[in-house]
Amino acid sequence: MSNVIEARGLKRYYHRGSETVKALDGVDLSIRAGEMVSILGPSGSGKTTLINLLSCLDAPTEGSLIVDGRSVAGLSEDDLVEVRRGLFGFVFQQFALLPTLTVAENVELPLMFLEKRVDPAATREILATVGLADRANHLPRELSGGQMQRVAIARGLIANPKILIADEPTGNLDSATGRAIIDLFKRLAAEQGLAIILTTHNAAFGYEADRVITLRDGKVLKEEMPERQPRIASILRSSSGEKSSFPSAPTFCSTC
């Protein structure tokens, strides 16, 4: 499979008064389609800065970044949004659902901004994928944390992105629910060929990924491919970039 993201010498510096903060200081990495990559590291190690750059939410201070075959380093905010549109799906730690919209409306929200017509059947299918087919007309406040996070995942998937960015997706969930979310990610990566980049403090969840990148002080400390995850080898060997249909619905408990 081809690289959907390729970063070389990626740097992101901030200025705090006269001090220069090196949030990211020369990171090289590449992400392939269908690959699930987790980024580990302590607070302040540069995890969020890295995924902000990889997802084109922010621009690097220095270095080259090629996303889906397009060089994005040096692009303006308006240009970055054009790169982002439809290419990325996002899942955030706080779920970030709009409280006044129903589950279905939240899921369909990206389509509005992408100026695409809603297909109710697709919404139903994707809600079934995350195990929330019967919650389409509920409001977020009527859901548990795990359910809200699954709505956020459905929202991240509705526009058929190539890359799903998940920033601490299990941070607000109990371990059982977090485990279910990670399992869902694994299935999405395997069955849809979706590249998934997630940050987490939970090393156990992190090591469920195909590849684990550990950051410290803005640099890659180590990069590992967990032995018990042989799937990455088959992905790397695969030459097909075709997406399959949505993965089969996972089994969630009634509250997660």
């Binding site: 997802s55 709009l98 990206p110 901004f113």
Partner: protein, 426 residues
């Protein structure tokens, strides 16, 4: 999935739905902001309705006088004007021979002498409330008066049929205006009592008249008037050689002709020539100060409402900073966020415009009564006229207000960098 443009009605509908749901998130705050805009619009609509209605009421009152020029005793032109337009008690008189001097002026098409007096009602009528204890008695030359006001007709119906003007030489017949008859509860054939104090004599004399006709409603001062033959009125009021006014219709009513006519008759020592355009200008001038003050209040209300709207939307944007960042991450362009916030602002102002206009329509009667209670406007009839045009201007104005007040909050929201907005904790 089909790609649409932001101008597609489907996409616009979705933006509208999202905007409305956002506004419903804080119903009290949104409601108060709408109320603020509504209040400003109510004031503006009421003011617009008053300006329009008052001008129209003056025009109508002047038209319904039937003449364009009045010759009357020297005095305050405003009092003179209001006396003719609305009725009044500050009466001045001119010599009766003025009529003979003026009547043959070559520019006059028609002329009618009018005598106005005030009769006491105490003990003489069915109603005796303190608010209206006198009757305006107008002595007219029937032929000349009818020529000036050909639209005058008699009320029909049970108790009112067979109404007519006075018989030749009658001394005890009156014709009542519509409201005068209603107020006195008199019909054709009833008796009307008037207590009239002749000039120079302290004690009033009670007179008994037969009502021979009740006029249809005209919407003018005629409605509240009691008509009798001019000679009878002059005699009972003890002013056999005096007139109150000469109503004149000129063959050509132009500014030039008016000036010519005026200069010709101003030579008479005791009279003033008042053109009704001048009357109109006088009346409008008298209320223009009040209108300016109300307009200033309306302008302040609009500015306050505008600040309120900006404040509300800015607070809403601030509270939703993280959400806006998420929307941008999800693919919303700067323009999409701008439009969303702008739509919310316009919805608030549109709702305020509609609610304010509705309030102005519902409350127009109260406003009219309040205005008339506060100021003597010098005209009869309705002075507040809220037309579809006034409402349209108000609602469009409110939407324009929304357009402008939404600019800054929308720009602020659209300029947020997603990476910073997402992380913002509110």
């Amino acid at each position: 999935m089909t790609t649409q443009t932001r101008k597609d009605p489907y996409v616009i509908r979705r933006y509208l739905t999202l905007a409305i749901k956002n506004l419903r998130r804080r119903p009290v705050r949104t409601g108060l902001t709408v109320a603020g805009v509504g209040l400003a619009v109510t004031v503006a609509v009421s003011l617009g309705g008053f300006m329009l209605g008052y001008s129209g009421a003056i025009d109508k009152s002047i038209d319904m006088l039937g003449f364009q020029v009045m010759i009357m005793a020297k005095g305050c032109p405003y009092e003179a004007a209001t006396m003719m337009l609305k009725g009044g008690t500050g009466l001045l008189y001119l010599p009766a021979d003025t009529y003979d001097k003026v009547r043959n002026d070559p520019d006059i098409e028609s002329i009618t002498p009018i005598f106005i007096g005030v009769a006491q009602k105490q003990g003489s009528s069915i109603r005796d409330d303190a608010g209206s204890n006198f009757s305006i008695i107008t002595g007219i030359d029937v032929a000349g008066y009818r020529e000036m006001k050909p639209w005058l007709g008699f009320k029909k119906g049970a108790g009112y049929n067979h109404g007519r003007w006075f018989s030749v030489g009658s001394r005890d017949e009156v014709v009542l205006g519509f409201e005068a008859a209603e107020y006195e509860q008199r019909k054709v054939g009833d008796t009307f009592y008037a207590s009239i104090a002749p000039a120079g004599k302290p004690d009033p004399v009670m007179h008994e008249f037969k009502v021979v006709g009740v006029l249809d409603r005209t919407g003018t001062q005629d409605d509240g008037t009691v008509f009798m033959p001019i000679d009878v009125a002059r005699e009972y009021f003890g002013r056999p050689d005096q007139l109150t006014i000469l109503g004149i219709k000129l063959k050509q009513f132009t500014a030039f002709k008016m000036r010519e006519f005026e200069s010709r008759w101003l030579k008479l020592p005791e009279v003033q020539v008042v053109g009704l355009q001048q009357v109109k200008n006088t009346l409008i001038g008298l209320v223009s100060t009040a209108q300016t003050m109300i307009a200033a209040v309306a302008a302040i209300a609009i500015i306050v409402a505008l600040i309120g709207v900006i404040n509300t939307i800015l607070m809403s944007v601030h509270e939703r900073t993280s959400e806006i960042g998420i929307m941008k991450a999800l693919g919303a362009r700067r323009g999409a966020i701008f439009e969303l916030i702008w739509i919310e602002t316009v919805i608030i102002c549109l709702a305020g415009g509609v609610a304010g206009s509705a309030a102005a329509i519902v409350g127009s009667g109260v406003v009219e009564r309040a205005i008339k209670a506060i100021a003597d406007l010098g005209v009869s009839g309705s002075v507040v006229r809220i037309t579809p045009a006034v409402i349209t201007y108000a609602v469009v104005g409110a939407v324009v207000l929304g357009f402008f007040s939404g600019l800054y909050p929308a720009w602020r929201a659209s300029s947020m960098r997603p990476v910073e907005a997402i992380r913002r904790e509110i």
